[in-house]
Homo-oligomer: 349 residues x 2
DNA sequence: TATGTTAATGAAAAGGTATTCATAATTTAG
DNA sequence: CTAAATTATGAATACCTTTTCATTAACATA
């Protein structure tokens, strides 16, 4: 026999089990008192009919859905966010939350996504690699739907966010390059309008300026190909840089390919390359990229826990945190003479 | 003012607009007749109150949710499935479907996922890179929840599926290698229990057997690292292979790194490497991997359309399709002398 | 045994919408 | 200008749960 849709209701189960519908509900929801005898009867009947409580009906009365919205960009062209997506999803699952997923473009306006999320009564929204406008975030929060962001923040917004210490990361890289006696560094920006790229550059430039070192600059739009092209432009000048700090790893890999295979340069002898993220490919022997590892697990854990926390306690004020990254020294950048010079060399994972 | 949860109902809107609740519903659902005047009044009031229809309540009565379940594995360690996830999600979005996402392990049992999907009344389920047991699939279908799979099938199962022509792909690769005069090919399997790996190997071996060519064999579990290790074992023997066909690209990249950087071999002069998938990295200049491109866009389009189609027409029989892949000739495999020999050389995307 | 407590049960209401049906308003045809 | 047909509206119902409340059964205490 073929059921057109799942039409088995608690009433039918009740009938078969010879109890009231209320008892069926109690047997399933672990709330309220049920005798072991009726529970058994109910579960037997339910199994026989293939009954399953209807989450929609339940949510209508409990006003809880156990659903969260997840908005993520850049998932296909940056393995870092693939990993974030993976970890987020699994963490939510483990904590009993259902995930409603929206994949967007980095620069996409979320104004048409939000209504859908709210319509479906998600209890909270997690945004990463995309930016929720300040007004939109306020709107969500005002309706009791907490928002948490990863690696993105909006000044003064009433929402939680968790970022890698991008500014400090940029500083670390600059110090490393100067210590290793680089004379002519360059910065390869991601997208001009992302705080991640901006902050990494700010930290980087801050140190260089202190030492009165000027830096070249190009834009790679956070993609392999744009970075490859930018690297060619950069390295093909009469006065090429001797080091390139890229706003993320995927660009750094593009730059390495451009330098090595495009222009036949030796890395790190002729040019040092440093990235940011520490995606899996950075440790591959073809690249061996020196980079700043983002504390991805901690960012994920913190943001999920914070989000669920604020769902349970709506009065709680949103939390924001900057979590330090760590330098991962591999082979793509020349090292300071001593090497001992106090650098923390992180192990590969 | 802070609303505890979204508590604005159609009744409040009706009150403010001075119409009945029914009219509010009609104004929003584009069903039934509404005069332009009342529609305007309703929408005005709704905007003022920040009203949004409650999808849970709606689904309860319409018995439709516009939600589909998406179960995907391997998303973090195989860029191919990252892209599938991305395309699937966007396609569903474009067609007005909400996606409930579950990320699982390849070998994970889906028995605990399914009840959750059914509980939340998804109207269909799309599974990729994971396997739904035959009985589970039947169960879903029996309750009117169509199932579609990408790159996975279960013999005799009553579900839709769309696969790349893995068997034929394996044959193509074998022919190419033989034509280019390779004497000692090897196959690097993914996971032993996946039809993708099995079918690719079957096609590959079929041609080799025809020509009485024996092949070496190793297992790489579909990961870069395992493949790297397997390649070392393979290439470090006294009688190493002169070609390695890998069950997917990510393994092929591991094999290339092992050969080039681990053992100092020249590719393709000393060993040819061929992959399967055509992930973005395969076209990077450090690899330039010859591979079989999966028709990812077509598989995604077909499976989504088929799933929605069967949701609308539950009586329709599930459709299955094998879609041919195409050989992408790059630089990681020695070519037949003529090169003209009739090979379709695909352009990079 | 009588009485007071606690546990178990069922009837009924509530949650927010879509939809049916009957009625009212409007338009069209004659 | 009336009758007929059409369109717009509102009241009431249904969707499937959870939960409250009142009632009954079971149990323990004196």
């Amino acid at each position: 026999m073929k059921h057109s849709r799942n039409s088995v209701t608690s009433i039918e189960v009740a009938k078969l089990a010879g109890v009231s519908q209320s008892s069926v509900s109690r047997a399933f929801s672990h709330e309220g008192p049920v005798s072991v005898k009726t529970r058994r009867k109910v579960l037997d009947a339910a199994r026989k009919l293939g009954y399953q409580p209807n989450a929609m009906a339940r949510s209508l009365i409990t006003r809880r859905t156990s659903m969260v919205g997840m908005v993520i960009a850049n998932v296909h062209n940056n393995p870092f966010y693939t990993e974030v997506l993976d970890l987020l999803s699994r963490k939510f699952q483990k904590l009993g939350q259902k995930v409603m997923l929206f994949i967007v473009n980095r620069d996409q306006n979320l104004d048409d996504i939000l209504p859908q999320l709210l319509e479906y009564q998600v209890e909270g929204i997690l945004v990463t690699a995309a930016t929720l406008s300040s007004t939109m975030a306020e709107e969500c929060e005002r309706w009791g739907r907490p928002v948490a962001m990863i690696n993105r923040y909006v000044p003064g917004v009433h929402a939680s966010w968790f970022c890698c210490a991008n500014y400090e990361g940029g500083k670390m890289v600059a110090k490393l390059l100067l210590d290793a006696n680089h004379q002519r560094p360059a910065f390869l920006a991601g997208s001009e309008d992302t705080t991640t790229s901006i902050d990494r550059e700010r930290g980087f430039m801050e140190i260089l300026n202190q030492e009165k070192v000027e830096a070249l600059r190009e834009i790679g739009e956070y993609t392999y190909q744009d970075a490859y092209d930018a690297a060619i432009r950069l390295l093909d000048r009469k006065d090429p840089p001797d080091a390139i700090f890229c706003a993320n790893d995927i660009m750094a890999l593009g730059v390495m390919d451009a330098a090595k295979n495009g222009l036949g340069l030796k890395i790190p002898e002729e040019v040092s390359i440093i990235g940011f993220d520490d995606i899996p490919m950075s440790s591959w022997s073809s690249y061996s990229l020196t980079t700043v590892r983002q504390p991805i697990q901690r960012m994920v854990d913190a943001s999920v826990e914070e989000l669920l926390n604020r769902i349970e306690n709506p009065e709680r004020e949103p939390l924001q945190e900057v979590i330090p990254g760590e330098l991962v020294i591999r082979g793509s950048a020349r090292m300071p003479g001593g090497l001992s010079s106090g650098w923390v060399i992180s192990q590969d994972r």
